[in-house]
């Protein structure tokens, strides 16, 4: 079903609410001098929650496209909308009591957070190359500014500079790929592109050009998801950015990047054939993506081994996790896609949790160095235990949620008979255990000679830590709703 412009509006409330939120925050920031510090976070939170409420209310019956084929509204898009809004809420709560951001005026920060969330929502929905490019740039431009938010801080500036140069080049390359694709198929609509590719049986196309298109567009998506070989910006940017922004970047734009990657490759370059997608012959992009996935997780994990800065180590760890998530996307099956969605969901809570502990420790200690974490268990047992749970979850140790993600991913891979792929993944998980355990060793086993002074945690931060701990512990027990939800969410418009 294709809806026209006016009919689409009733399915567009979440985005409209976020847009209104951006404007309201900007207006309150310039007009309410005294109250704005209190009002702005509340307005932002209200906009995010209201958008989340309307997203959950959306009953679209069957998959359809909005705005004359610009956006696709399907269960897949709804999953990502819920995911991205929840991530926005958690990051907003995490940024409220952050010493780094407290040093600068935060009005624009909240407006930017809403704008970037709006961009990501559109990204997860795009079914048209123009929409895809515009929403990707909306997310990119706002996150460049968020990374450089600490204007007088040298690291923050440098990180933002590197981010924008890298981002501009990779999205430029992606755009060049889009232009070639337009030339070959004569359309900018993803589904029309697929039909054109199918109609000409691909043999009619120049194979080298098609491969070039796949490589160039992968550059754009690879940049957003921080997959090797487009990951070079990631450690520097994550280290230099304010920690709440780092936490945000490591989860939300990455997930949105996976959403468009799946939509572009599964919706645009392959066709549904029962349980599996038969990709259009002549493009061996699954092989390209398998190689990318193996390189991404191996390089991320190996580089993380030698890091002593917590933010940098978690940056490499997030590269490695992008590799695991990609494992699900390259399988071309519903099971693989479902595994990817489950993994993303648990990754949201465990990764945000780990970054949040880093924020809390920086608030009190002004340090990201691993040796300064010594004796943390004696100073704040709660924090040390919380961090251990997040890290064990990131490794994938059974009682915690991370195990669920790994179980689904490896299960889907073995299901496809790609045993070597699963073995590479399992070996990587073992390597990753080493550096995660190293953090725990410093926090719990190693003590310095100083007498342990209790660490100050604000009540809000403590409550948020508990909020993040709950899904990490309980998801393994209540996995059935997650299973049903993700199984429903793999319906792509024009796809499976």
């Amino acid at each position: 079903m294709n809806l026209g412009n006016l009919d689409s509006l009733s399915f567009f409330y979440p985005e409209l609410i976020l847009l209104g939120g951006v404007l309201l925050v900007v207006i309150s920031d310039i007009s309410l001098k005294g109250l704005r510090v209190r009002i702005n976070p509340l307005l932002t939170l209200a906009a995010l929650l209201l958008a989340l409420f309307y997203t959950l209310q959306t009953d679209h019956g069957s998959a359809m496209t909005l705005f004359e084929g610009m956006l696709a509204l399907d269960n897949f898009a709804l999953y990502f909308k819920v995911f991205l809004l929840v991530a926005g809420v958690l990051v907003l709560l995490g940024s409220l009591h952050s010493e780094e951001l407290a040093s600068v005026h935060q009005g624009e920060f909240h407006a930017l957070l809403l704008a970037v969330t709006l961009g990501m929502l559109l990204m997860a929905n795009s079914a048209h190359l123009v929409m895809l490019y515009l929403s990707l740039e909306l997310v990119s431009l706002t996150s460049y500014i968020m990374v450089g938010y600490l204007r007088s801080d040298r690291l923050s500036n440098e990180a933002s500079m590197k981010y924008i140069l890298f981002g501009a080049v990779s999205t430029g390359a992606m755009l060049y790929g889009f232009s070639l694709l337009y030339g070959m198929t004569g359309s900018l609509d993803l589904f029309a592109i697929r039909d054109a590719l199918l109609a000409q049986e691909v043999g009619g196309f120049n194979q080298v050009t098609l491969l070039l298109v796949v490589v160039l567009t992968t550059a754009g998506f690879g940049f957003k998801t921080a997959a090797v070989p487009f990951h070079f910006w990631c450690p520097d940017v994550y280290t230099g950015a304010p920690t709440p922004v780092t936490a945000f970047l490591s989860v939300a734009p990455k997930a949105a990047g996976f959403a468009i990657l799946v939509r572009f490759f599964l919706g645009g370059l392959s066709q549904p054939a029962g349980e599996q997608w038969g990709f259009i012959s002549g493009i061996d992009w699954p092989l390209v993506l398998i190689v990318v996935s193996v390189l991404t997780m191996s390089l991320g994990n190996i580089a993380a081994l030698t890091q002593n800065n917590l933010k940098r180590m978690l940056a490499y760890s997030s590269i490695a996790h992008a590799g695991y998530i990609l494992m699900g996307a390259v399988l071309l099956t519903g099971t693989g896609l479902k595994a990817m969605l489950v993994y993303l969901f648990v990754y949201l809570f465990m990764n945000l949790g780990a970054f949040f502990v880093v924020t809390v420790i920086f608030n009190a200690e002004k340090t990201f160095e691993l040796q300064d974490y010594n004796g943390m268990f004696r100073r704040s047992p709660f924090l040390a235990v919380a961090m251990s749970i997040f890290l064990l979850s990131l490794i994938g140790i059974p009682p915690f949620a991370g195990f669920l993600g790994k179980l689904y991913i490896f299960g889907a891979v073995i299901d496809q008979g790609l045993y070597w792929f699963a073995v590479v993944g399992a070996l990587n998980a073992a390597v990753a255990a080493f550096y995660y355990m190293r953090i725990m060793k410093h926090m719990i086993l190693e003590n310095d000679d100083r007498p342990p002074t209790p660490l100050q945690i604000s009540p809000l931060n403590r409550a948020l830590l508990v909020l993040l701990l709950v899904p990490n512990i309980l998801l393994i027990v209540f996995w059935a709703p997650i299973d049903r939800w993700t199984a429903n969410s793999i319906t792509l418009f024009g796809g499976l």
Binding site: Y133, L141, S152, N157, L165, A173, S179, G183
Partner: protein, 101 residues
Amino acid sequence: MIELKYYLLISAALFSLGVFGVLTRRNAVNVLMGVELILNSANLNLVAFSRYSSAGIDGQMFAVFVIVVAAAEVAVALAIVLTLYRVLNTVNLDRADVLKR
């Protein structure tokens, strides 16, 4: 009439020059000029394809959007270059190396 392939050749040359500029220049502003070349090579492709095929004006519409986004991107990039200059007193990218270890 000029054939389509000449447009494509020029756009490929622009793209390569842009990538070359990004990789070799050390001045942040020069790197941004390379980025502009990349974006404009894509624009040239889009407009040329749109003109020489029966696909309608989709490509030209896309090019207009790209021009606008490119302007916004440069505005943000130059603002970041400016703040970097305030902190470092240079726009040479080799000097922005604190994060490298």
